[in-house]
């Protein structure tokens, strides 16, 4: 959702910039070619062209601008082409013209909450992707032996209750640092 909003804001800014720039250049060209004008109307193009005419390809400012272009372009491509995580985990009750799913984020929160219900777990975080459900738990101050097995069993039965169409693999990790 945040990504979609960021994309939308960025798209509006870029589109507005292109629109304004396109119209300004058109006005300048029409002013000179059609109306015989010899000075700038709105766009200070003389200053820009003079600056570019004095800027060598191997100069520091040119390299800084070009590196900036590469970084911004690369970041844009990376973020736009990154595969997004699923929004919905399909349930087995889907069929025909009905698609049923559980919201991924709510599953993450509920899995984490269910994990903290296990005795000996003081905190837990869950991450759900299309292939894997990872649960990272922090053991409490007591003896943590057998905690991973207990947690795995609890998570497995919780996920079975969810009735997912293709349940992702479950991975449980217990951090025992605090229990020592």
């Amino acid at each position: 959702m945040t990504m979609k909003l960021t994309n939308r804001l960025l798209a509006v800014l870029v589109a507005l910039a292109l629109l304004v720039l396109g119209v300004l250049v058109l006005v300048e060209i029409a002013w000179v070619l059609l109306l015989g004008g010899s000075t700038e109307v709105l766009l200070p193009y003389t200053g820009i062209t003079d600056y570019l005419a004095g800027l060598a390809w191997d100069s520091r400012p040119a390299r800084a601008i070009l590196i900036g272009m590469v970084i911004i372009g690369g970041l844009l491509l990376l973020t736009e082409l990154r595969r997004s995580r699923p929004g919905l985990l399909t349930l087995a009750s889907s069929g025909g013209s009905v698609t049923v799913g559980a919201d991924r984020r709510s599953v993450e929160k509920a899995v984490a909450a269910s994990a903290t219900d296990v005795e000996g777990v003081s905190a837990a975080v869950a991450r759900v992707s299309s292939r894997k459900i990872s649960v990272s738990a922090v053991a409490g101050p007591r003896d943590a032996s057998g905690l991973r097995e207990a947690l795995t069993s609890r998570m497995q039965s919780w996920l079975e209750g969810l009735n997912l169409a293709n349940p992702p693999a479950l991975s449980v990790r217990v951090d025992e640092r605090k229990s020592r």
């Binding site: 590196i67 911004i72 929160k109």
Partner: protein, 198 residues
């Protein structure tokens, strides 16, 4: 099996992605080519040349058709930018439902928001449901219903889903006289049991 998050503005999402990928490619490509020139990749004689070459400047100054071509390019860019901005206003959300499939018999319509409100009320009255909303997407003759249901943790997801599919969906389909209406149901699972207001 997974599904992407529901997108009520698919045209805007696709257009924004395509536009920003194109911008990214232009910036990356232009920047890399410029750096290669600056580091002597196209010959050491070019590396110290100005970014705006005097030869190109003279050519532009003496050929009017060049500026006509630039103006045409600007016009295309401005028109595309305007279309890009317009795409932000597009939505897949349905405003009215056409209940009469035979146009020769006239037109019977119903506002989609009325159906959406009714669906939400019916769902919210069910046990195990904390909150519900409905939205109709598509166009007059090809629409689908999306139900978002937040559970309160008092009933299992399976129990709520059984009731929704066995009782609520047939009711909605009967009202809309569309037995094969495509429906997407999204459940938001409760983290803790929520109190039901008395």
């Amino acid at each position: 099996m997974t599904l992407p998050a529901l997108d009520r503005t698919p045209v805007a999402t696709r257009t924004n992605r395509a536009g920003l990928v194109l911008l990214g490619l232009l910036l990356l490509g232009g920047g890399l080519i410029g750096l290669v020139v600056g580091f002597g990749g196209f010959g050491s004689s070019n590396q110290g040349r100005p970014v705006l070459d005097p030869v190109a400047r003279d050519f532009a100054a003496t050929h009017d058709w060049f500026w006509v071509a630039v103006a045409a390019g600007c016009l295309v860019v401005a028109a595309l930018a305007l279309l890009w901005l317009r795409a932000q206003l597009s939505t897949d959300r349905l405003r009215t439902l056409n209940l009469e499939s035979d146009r020769s018999r006239g037109a019977t319509t119903m506002t989609a928001s009325a159906v959406e409100r009714a669906c939400a009320e019916v769902l919210q009255a069910r046990r195990g449901v904390a909150q519900a909303s409905a939205v109709m997407l598509g166009d007059d003759y090809d629409y689908r219903l999306v139900l978002s249901i937040s559970l309160n943790g008092r009933e299992s997801l399976r129990a709520v889903d059984d009731v929704v599919q066995a009782e609520v969906l047939p009711q909605i389909r009967n009202v809309l006289d569309s037995q094969d209406l495509p429906v997407r149901i999204e459940y938001l699972i409760a983290t803790r049991v929520r109190r039901v207001p008395m």
